[in-house]
């Protein structure tokens, strides 16, 4: 059965019928329909409710500028709030719900707000809800918040995936109407790389909505033929369902392609949408124009819409919004709508034109006058007309078209510095000011409102943009009607005449805003919320500006516009996030022993992007502490192994390598012997510690520098800065080798014995003493590096082999160590051992600490200039009571000494004013049998032995502690040198 308002013709496919549901009720439509056109075809005019007054709302437009017909599309996790019914392509099984209502759409309980509209004027909340003060948070605000928003999220994880991509072209054409298509033809035939994008699923722009012909074809047929020709060109990429959302610096455009939104669900593995970054040299903006409404009393009833939308529904979608239609216009275009509808067999109740010299028609009545009010609770039934003569007429109609003139779509011209210019002939803003680099504008977007003008303008723009010589391509004959318009914005004396239909901003609100001094156009917007709806003022702003101008006694361009901002239409957050979700949010970096560690049942922890083994639980261990304690004790007793590949490594070579290190480290490196390693502290230029690590001198002109895991990238960048910008003639070459080598720390009194089984050569204490380094071979010839350095405080080595051998080496080490009960240890045990040894790490090098704070003040060489040495001497960084790194232990061994707790004098007040310092790192020491910590304490070096109070009110800790040396284990360092 054909729905009641379905006409013949159009660009729908009557052979394909789609069933769909709206608010639980079933309807049918056809391929090529939008949800809005299908609903209208079925006689459904009421599609939503407004934000504030919950007034009944139907479609206002037939495009992406729609402020009213917003629905919750789909259900379950794919529910998509605020979806414009006017752009939602119909598919079989589509489900949609109306939104912002309590109860049914027809009987929305919140509609009571409309009764109180006298109270809910612009800015009402700034003046109220203040008495009594306590009521705001408890009563008023919860009520306001409950009413907030339009549609709702399902709050289920979005099940679809989104892609991102990158495209490059010579010319980007935004919009595939007559101007865009003729530009694309011209450019495409020249061989240039062209992308033409249009937000619609059917390219052709207004050509699909109009009845006039291009040459001997209908506009729609010409568009289809042109698109086919373009699609066949290898150098042209035709992108429908693609919105250019923003013009960014230097010819970069954001585009969203809706790959799957017209399908019930995306095909397997396919994204729902793709965010493209398009890099183009030239851009032609051919985005067309949007018709604007006229403000009159009760102009917001379902059935009242833009006249051009009526035309689109009739011509493109074969839908009559109603069988009796009236038009209210201030320009000739309104008459075109009436003629088109009349030709489709729709009864024109009358065309009401504000102009005395309006054209006359044989087919319908033209009245000189204004629509001053309407009737119809859930949809238009009558329009009241006041004729110029003063007589009144009542028009019976179910739809009314408003034709207030056209606004060129200047948005993208304003995304950078452009400010639109006023055009009196069109009574509209056209592109002006400084356009984005490489952008030209053509067609209706440039104020060229006729089809012939658009075709010509598009072709000329393409020629200009690409510097093409020769004649324009032959363009088909097309209508070239002038724009005849008399500016008319609102009906005098009206009050509840809507400007912003979604946010319920009326003419009265604008006047009130002016009355209260909110007179800048930005104040108007912010005070009334005019233009802040989901259409960002596309259909509402001009009316507000015109009224503001009149009240201020200024012209519209003097009042100016608010700023157009991206995105051009609302854009899903999902597509902007792309694939970076869940586990793929950031790449994972796996260490060479990852597979092996997984086999051992290791627990992993995120360290930046790295995953490191945190500890290795064994059967019978029930808490992480049990595992960690075991790993620590076993290492200190015999031997342990830990993957330390994540430390940054930089290969520093060149004849000036040593001098270079002298600059980047505060301590000296020039005299470091070949085959030796030295601890180094790097300062920022502001004198604060930046990073620490070791530098191993493998040859006179070759060092391997290590950085902390966290700072690998920033230290490398800093080194390149020093090399290229500060000492450009130093013979130094840098390259990161972090991932090139699998590196393991082998620590503990038996570490030498284990390594002796693997290393080809003598590593006795004499041959390879503490801080030695060398290129060696292992296991009978595999190239490797050995460093005798220790983070744990034990006799220890770090051994490195090319990464691909890392898996094999860890297995070899474990095999070789079996007789010594070798234990793999993770980052927790590593942390415990370094705290026991008093080594500073990330928690201590927190970006605010100096070498002096860290107890390494004497390392800052005075004998040379190095980065940061001068500013490290500022008075504020060298006060007598400055923080010093100390060790902290609980007086009662059972007490914790947690990181983040603050130190107070034992018998002093506990407050911020008496803060003495804080704990940076803490752990339980299985060797000492109690918790220990490192921290910073005012004048700490002189307070060893002092009893203090350690407080963490946040976590409920308040314990007595003793300040001790930070070196809990082997303070003399005998084990290291054993």
């Amino acid at each position: 059965m054909t729905p009641k308002n379905r006409l013949d013709g159009g660009q729908i496919d009557p052979a394909i019928t789609h069933e769909f549901r709206f608010d639980g009720k079933s309807y049918t439509g056809h391929a090529g329909d939008t949800l809005a056109s299908a609903l209208l075809a079925n006689g459904v005019r009421l599609m939503g409710r407004s934000f504030k007054y919950h007034r009944p709302r139907g479609v206002l437009t037939a495009g992406s500028e729609e402020p009213n017909a917003l629905v919750e599309l789909r259900s379950g996790a794919r529910q998509e709030p605020n979806t414009r019914a006017t752009t939602a392509e119909l598919f079989d099984g589509l489900v949609a719900k109306s939104q912002n209502r309590i109860g049914s759409l027809r009987f929305d309980l919140m509609a009571v707000n409309d009764r109180f509209s006298n109270f809910l004027t612009a800015g009402f909340y700034y003046k109220t809800f203040m008495w009594p003060a306590a009521f705001w948070e408890k009563i008023y605000e919860p009520i306001i918040r409950k009413a907030a928003g339009l549609g709702s999220l399902s709050l289920l994880d979005d099940p679809d995936v989104y892609d991102k991509g990158f495209l490059h072209c010579d010319l980007l054409i935004v919009g595939a109407g007559p101007a865009g298509l003729s530009a694309a033809l011209t450019a495409g035939r020249s061989g240039a790389d062209v992308i033409i994008a249009d937000e619609d699923f059917r390219m052709g722009g207004r050509l699909n909505s109009e009845t006039f012909s291009l040459g001997d074809q209908s506009g729609a047929d010409w568009a289809a033929a042109t698109v086919a020709e373009l699609a066949a060109l290898p150098n042209v990429r035709v992108m429908n369902r693609t919105t250019i959302i923003g013009a960014f610096d230097h010819g970069i455009y954001g585009a969203v392609e809706r790959v799957s939104d017209h399908l019930p669900t995306p095909l397997d593995g396919k994204p729902r949408q793709v965010l493209w970054r398009i890099y183009t040299k030239q851009t032609i903006l051919a985005a067309g124009a949007i018709e604007r409404p006229i403000a009159f009393e009760n102009n917001d009833r379902p059935g009242i819409m833009l006249a051009s939308a009526l035309r689109t529904y009739a011509n493109r979608y074969a839908v009559a919004a109603d069988r009796r239609v009236a038009i209210f216009t201030n320009n000739d275009d309104g008459h075109r709508t009436a003629a088109d509808l009349h030709a489709k067999g729709i009864k024109i109740a009358a065309v009401v034109d504000v102009r005395a010299d309006a054209p006359r028609s044989h087919d319908f009545e033209v009245l000189h006058g204004q629509v001053i009010d309407t009737k119809g609770r859930h949809g238009l039934t009558f329009a009241e007309v006041r004729l110029e003569s003063g007589d009144m007429r009542t028009l019976e109609c179910g739809a009314l078209g408003m034709a207030g003139g056209w606004n060129p779509n200047v948005h993208l011209t304003c995304h950078q510095r452009g400010r639109p210019a006023w055009n009196d002939a069109l009574a509209a803003f056209v592109p002006g000011g400084v356009l984005p680099v490489g952008m030209t504008v053509a067609g209706a977007a440039n104020g060229d409102m006729s089809t012939a003008g658009a075709l010509r303008g598009g072709a000329e723009a393409a020629k200009r943009a690409l510097g093409l010589k020769g004649k324009l391509p032959t363009l088909p004959e097309a209508e070239d009607a002038p724009v005849n318009i008399t500016p008319f914005w609102y009906v005098e004396g009206c009050s509840r005449a809507w400007l912003d239909q979604q946010n319920d901003v009326t003419v009265k609100d604008v006047k009130l805003s002016h009355q209260e001094g909110y007179r800048s156009v930005e104040h108007l917007k912010r005070y009334t919320t005019l233009g802040m709806a989901t259409d960002q003022g596309k259909t509402s702003n001009m009316g507000g500006l015109a009224i503001m101008a009149e009240l201020a006694g200024k012209s519209i361009p003097e009042v100016g516009t608010t700023i157009f901002r991206p995105p051009y239409t609302p854009t899903s957050i999902g597509v902007l996030g792309g694939r970076a979700r869940g586990q793929a949010f950031h790449p994972k970096r796996l260490t060479p022993s990852h597979t092996w560690a997984t086999e051992q049942g290791a627990i992993f922890v995120e360290v930046g992007n790295w995953l490191r083994a945190q500890w290795f639980p064994r059967a019978g261990e029930t808490t992480w502490r049990e595992s960690v304690d075991r790993e620590v004790l076993a290492t200190r007793k015999s031997v342990g192994v830990c993957d330390v590949t994540t430390l940054g490594k930089v290969d520093v070579q060149g004849t000036d390598a040593a001098e270079f290190l002298n600059k980047i480290y505060c301590n000296g490196f020039a005299k470091l012997a070949v085959g030796r390693t030295r601890y180094g502290l790097m300062l920022r230029e502001d004198g604060i510690a930046m990073d620490d690590g070791t530098a191993a001198r493998l040859a006179d002109d070759h060092f391997v520098v290590t950085t902390t895991t966290a700072n690998a990238l920033s230290v490398y960048r800093h080194m390149e800065f020093v090399r290229q910008c500060l000492y450009p003639d130093m013979d130094v070459q840098l390259i990161s080798t972090t991932e090139a080598w699998a590196q393991y720390a082998v620590a503990g009194p038996n570490s030498r014995k284990v390594l002796e089984k693997l290393v080809d050569g003598d590593i006795s204490n004499e041959a390879f003493p503490f801080m030695a380094c060398a290129n060696i071979t292992v296991c009978g010839g595999l190239r490797a590096r050995l460093f005798r350095i220790s983070f744990s405080g034990e006799l220890a080595y770090e051994i490195a082999v090319p990464t691909a051998y890392g898996d094999a080496l860890i297995r070899k080490i474990m095999e070789a160590g079996a007789e010594y009960d070798i234990t793999a240890y993770g980052t927790e045990a590593l942390g415990v051992m370094r705290i026991e040894k008093g080594h500073a790490a990330g928690n201590e090098l927190n970006g605010t600490t100096t070498a002096a704070n860290l107890g390494m003040g004497r390392m800052v060489s005075k004998a040379k200039d190095s980065i940061g040495s001068v500013l490290s001497e500022r008075e504020g960084l060298n006060r007598a009571d400055d923080l010093r790194q100390v060790g902290i232990k609980p007086v009662d061994p059972a007490d914790p000494v947690p990181a983040g707790a603050h130190l107070m004098k034992a018998d002093g007040p506990v407050d911020a004013a008496h803060d003495q310092g804080y704990v940076t790192s803490a752990c339980y020491s299985p060797n000492l049998g109690h918790s220990i910590a490192l921290g910073f304490l005012k004048d700490g070096a002189n307070r060893l032995g002092e009893r203090m109070r350690l407080v963490s009110p946040l976590t409920g800790v308040n314990v007595d502690v003793e300040i001790v040396s930070a070196h809990f284990i082997d303070p003399e360092g005998e084990r290291l040198r054993a």
């Binding site: 396919k270 002109d701 013979d731």
Partner: protein, 187 residues
Amino acid sequence: MHDLKTVTALGGTTPRVDTFARVTIAENDGVALASVAARMGHEKTCHAALEKLLGAVPAVGRAVLHDPEAGFWMGPDQWMLGAPRATHELLADQLTALLGKAASVTEQTGAWVVFDITGPGMADLSERLCNVPIRRMQAGDVQRTVIHHMGCFVIRRQAEDHIRILGPRASAGSLHHALVEAAQSIA
């Protein structure tokens, strides 16, 4: 001879191959890599040695797809050289012997995972991954860029439908995941 066995960057004993309708993603475990940076004042000697080895010095943004040794430009006076691992396991040592004090050579084999992407969907896949003008690139063009937060080299190889991607080895799994997802997207 040592008896240590290597594993591939993806952790397998053999390289992984994933085949899709329009594209094949193949892990390439057979490339030895080393960087070469000219020492200051020895640029000419370094260039001459490279020219002798590769037939030409790789120009900015270019690779010399020579056999068995190949190379591409990494930065000012810095190149990455590659060769079959089977024959050039000790590539860095070989280059050091060749270049002497004219250049700083650093072994890079272990730092990278290498993927060869071939097939008619190669360009479509590239567009979903990274910002290289893939359809304009010629054989031998090289661009360092970012793929899903991972710094990579993209090398347009000899065949029209072939790119080679060098990515950080530790992130081989994440990079592979990104490649496979993109391949599914464009299928």
